[in-house]
C-alpha cells in the first residue's frame, strides 16, 4: 500500500505483467516507470531514484475488520468470487514464486510468514509463528521503538510506534475475548492492540501511530532484503 503522488504528480498504476524476484512489478501510466511492489522502488524509468511512500494497512479477515470498523466501505465484489486462486500455492511449503524460486536465505523456511518493515536501509522481519505464541514483540528499527501485535482472531498483525508525547512506552499483553489489549508500564493505560487507541487510563483518547508493514513469505522478503534482521 503506497501513496501514488510522486514529486507532486499523481500516478495511476497498472499490472506490468512482469515479476521481479518473483513479486509483482507495477507500471505507472503517466511515465511508464516500473516499480516493485515489495519495496516501492523503481526498477527503471523516468522516475528512477524515487520511492513510493508506504501507507499503513492491515491484512486481516472480513469479520475482524467489520468488528473494528462497522462503518467501513467495502470494494464491490462479484459475488461469484468465493475463494482464492492460490489455494495450492499457499498450502504447499515447497512452492515459492511462479518460476520455482529457491529460498535465498536459510535462516527461515521459504514459506515462513513474517511481518516485515523497512526504514531507509534497515529491514526487519518478525516471525509470525513466534508472534502467535506471544502476541507482542517489542523492538526498534533505526531508533524507532516499535510494538508488533498479533491478533489470533484475524490472523493479523499491526505495528505501532511506542512513543507518545516524547515518552517511550513498554507494553504487556492483556487478552479480553477477541481483543488484544496492551497495558503500558509507564502509565498503566490500557490500549487496543488492534487500533492503537488508548481506552482506559491516564492516556485515554490518545492513539499510537500505525507504522507501515507487510505480511510476507520469507523467501520473497529475503530476496529483496538480503541483510534483513530476523526476530525474535
Amino acid at each position: 500500500m503506497y501513496t501514488r503522488t510522486v514529486k507532486g504528480q499523481e500516478l495511476t498504476f497498472g499490472v506490468s505483467g512482469k515479476l521481479y524476484k518473483d513479486a509483482l512489478v507495477m507500471f505507472d501510466r503517466e511515465t511508464e516507470t516500473l516499480w516493485t511492489q515489495v519495496d516501492g522502488s523503481v526498477l527503471r524509468g523516468k522516475l528512477e531514484g524515487s520511492r513510493l511512500q508506504p501507507v499503513p494497512a492491515v491484512q486481516t479477515t472480513w469479520s475482524e475488520w467489520k468488528r473494528l470498523h462497522p462503518a467501513t466501505l467495502v470494494l464491490k465484489k462479484d459475488p461469484r468470487i468465493r475463494g482464492t486462486l492460490y489455494t495450492d500455492y499457499h498450502s504447499d511449503p515447497q512452492k515459492m514464486g511462479i518460476a520455482g524460486a529457491r529460498n535465498p536465505d536459510a535462516r527461515l523456511p521459504g514459506k515462513a510468514l513474517v511481518v516485515t518493515l523497512r526504514e531507509e536501509s534497515e529491514a526487519l522481519a518478525v516471525k509470525v509463528d513466534a508472534l502467535k505464541r506471544t502476541l507482542l514483540h517489542q523492538t526498534e528499527l533505526r531508533g524507532q521503538p516499535l510494538a508488533i501485535v498479533y491478533s489470533p482472531a484475524g490472523n493479523s498483525a499491526r505495528v505501532f510506534d511506542r512513543r507518545v508525547e516524547g515518552q517511550t512506552l513498554g507494553f504487556s499483553v492483556v487478552r479480553r475475548g477477541d481483543e488484544v489489549l496492551l497495558r503500558d508500564k509507564q502509565t498503566s493505560t490500557l490500549w487496543s492492540g488492534l487500533t492503537g487507541k488508548a481506552q482506559e487510563g491516564k492516556l485515554a483518547g490518545r492513539e499510537l501511530r500505525a507504522v507501515p508493514h507487510m505480511m510476507n513469505y520469507w523467501f520473497a522478503w529475503a530476496a529483496y532484503n538480503p541483510r534483513t534482521r530476523v526476530e525474535p
Partner: protein, 117 residues
C-alpha cells in the same frame, strides 16, 4: 547469469504452480502456445516478462458498498486488506484482488493511494 540458467532449467513443467501462475492459466492460450517468457538480469535479480501490460486489469474506478451490503458477498474468514485514515475505513477482498492485483483509489485523509496484492 547462473541464476537465469538455473531458472530456465527449473521452469520446465512448473508453470501452473505458484504466484501468478494460476492467473496465467486463465489468461494465456492453450498450454502448447504459451510464449517463452523473457528473462532479464536487473540489479541483483531477474525480471521475468510473463504477460503483456494490463492483461491483469487493475481497478481504476473502484465502487464501494456498506458493510451490511458486503455481508451478502463476503465470508467471515475472507482475507481483506484494510485502510483507515482516521475517519474513513475501506476493505478490499484479497480473493478479489487475486484477479486484479492493483486498485487505484483515494481516501480523504491519505489522498491518492494504490492498493496492491
Amino acid at each position: 547469469m547462473h541464476e537465469v540458467a538455473e531458472m530456465k532449467k527449473r521452469r520446465k513443467g512448473s508453470w501452473a504452480t505458484a504466484g501468478l501462475a494460476a492467473l496465467m492459466v486463465l489468461v494465456l492460450p492453450a498450454a502448447g502456445q504459451r510464449p517463452e517468457p523473457k528473462m532479464e538480469k536487473v540489479g541483483d535479480g531477474v525480471l521475468l516478462h510473463v504477460l503483456p501490460p494490463d492483461r491483469i486489469p487493475a481497478i481504476n474506478q473502484p465502487e464501494f458498498v456498506s458493510a451490511a451490503v458486503a455481508d451478502k458477498f463476503m465470508a467471515g474468514d475472507e482475507p481483506v486488506l484494510g485502510l483507515f485514515d482516521g475517519k474513513v475505513a475501506k476493505a478490499y477482498s484479497l480473493w478479489q484482488l487475486d484477479q486484479h492485483e492493483i486498485v487505484n483509489d483515494r481516501l480523504p485523509g491519505l489522498g491518492a493511494v494504490t492498493v496492491t496484492w
